[in-house]
């Protein structure tokens, strides 16, 4: 076996006659930071949902940490941590209780769980606030808590779907600092999507660009820039995907994004 922690071959996902993911193949080497870019409706979130057992593929082969997300759900679920596109914390519980809940669901014994919660909340600088209800947290604190929670059960892979959406540049910077640090110290593979292309350029080892359900290119940020003769990844991205605005049904995240833009512009 190669050192690829994620392998996808000829992946297809249809929704009532609409092909969201169209014959996609890619691999992610272990311990790397991999970003998945693409305009709205490109099929990024659908792909993540398939990798994380939330959706079944129409056809194709998927391996996550060597396991099949369709037939080996529990093994795959133990292998990854996830930060969803939308918030997914229980606001009525404290930060610590959210972590405890996760640890119990993932079958961690009490001693390991408590030690790891302390370690991660310290790392994310949330330990002082552990007994506060999550509804009192700022957006950045909630995101940090979600990342800490995603890492609690020692996953090999951390999936993050637009982890920095709606956060100010300071907070985004801060969060990427943590994640790069984790990638180095724990050797965790990071797989994320974002619309902030400059963010992807800074942190990714490999970038894959997806559009209309297909992967149109992948490589290191430098390779993609060279390939398109662009001076930044954002420019390369626009050259590759065109500047037409994509329409898709508004998901709750898009509505959140619109609200955010109205508030901040």
């Amino acid at each position: 076996m190669s050192d690829n922690i994620i392998e996808v071959r000829d992946l297809v996902k249809d929704f009532d006659g609409f092909r969201a993911v169209n014959d996609v193949s890619f691999t992610v080497p272990a311990r790397r930071i991999f970003s998945f870019l693409g305009p709205n409706g490109a099929g990024k979130t659908t792909s993540i949902k398939i990798l994380t057992t939330m959706l079944h593929p129409t056809s194709g082969v998927v391996r996550v940490n060597g396991f099949d997300p369709v037939t080996q759900q529990n093994e795959v679920r133990h292998s990854f941590g996830i930060v969803f596109q939308d918030p997914s914390l229980d606001d009525e519980l404290t930060a610590y209780e959210n972590m405890e809940f996760h640890g119990v669901l993932y079958g961690m014994d009490k001693a390991t769980r408590r030690a790891r919660i302390k370690e991660l909340l310290d790392f994310m600088e949330l330990w002082d606030r552990k007994d506060n209800l999550v509804k009192e947290f700022s957006g950045g604190m909630k995101r940090r808590l979600e990342i800490a929670r995603g890492l609690l059960h020692h996953p090999k892979i951390l999936f993050m779907d637009e982890p920095t959406l709606g956060l100010d540049p300071q907070t985004r910077n801060h969060i990427w600092g943590y994640i790069r640090n984790l990638n180095k110290t724990e050797g965790i593979t990071v797989f994320f999507t974002t619309h902030y292309i400059e963010e992807a350029e800074h942190v990714s080892d490999t970038v894959a660009i997806m559009d209309h359900g297909r992967i149109i290119t992948h490589g290191s940020p430098d390779e993609l820039k060279r390939q398109t003769g662009a001076s930044s990844l954002e420019e390369a991205f626009l050259k590759l995907t065109g500047s037409a605005i994509r329409e898709e049904e508004a998901s709750s995240t898009d509505r959140a994004r619109q609200r955010y833009h109205r508030m901040h512009h």
Partner: protein, 250 residues
Amino acid sequence: MKVIYILWLRQLKRYFRSKARLVGSLGQPLLFLVALGFGFGPIFQKAGGGNYIQFLAPGVVAMGILFTGIFTGVDIIWDRQFGFLKETLAAPVSRLQIMLGRTIGGATVATIQGIIVLLLTFAVGFRLDGMGFASIVPAVLLMFVIALLFTALGTAIASLLQDVQGFQLIMNFLVMPTFFLSGALFPLEGLPRVISDIASADPLTYGIDGLRGILTNSAHFNMYTDVLVSLIVMVVLVAIGSYLFTKIEI
């Protein structure tokens, strides 16, 4: 077991933390007890029905359980809206465990609510006939069965709904009729045929009648029939709720 326990604990924590909801949900039963209990009391007495508070109290206790049970079941819609459902569904545990933990937790909350309402009924003059204080234990057990039944029903409905818009519909076409047509407020004797048939098809009817049998020794049906019907409907609804919950897609 640990998974079921942590989900159960979560429901209880959420319940005891929202003091406003806790106090607010006692307003309605109290209003029913005071306004209807004292308002219709004299007429009920004249018509030969006896003490109306004695008749009404088990019905209002069951109302508290019905509302709380359905709402904690329907909570899944909120968890879906606020994203927490994804966290539980992405975890390496079976959906059945999640559903059972939530439902038992919700039913525990509904039972506690029922016990609080029962204490309120004592304050407005309700007295235990028949077995006296010995009736409290079987009454609480039956309350728990009723609570499981309606929490599972709420879970089943919530599994089919995508968002909170359908909520008003449930209130007006399910919860209210279930309560008003159950014999909580009026005796089941001498009713028009249609109403009597509807009441016999309403699971809450048997729950309330069973409570009346236990607390005041005045069941319309046989008390054991009441308990048996409640148990059977509860098991069926937990099965349906579990099935629908495993089919949720996010």
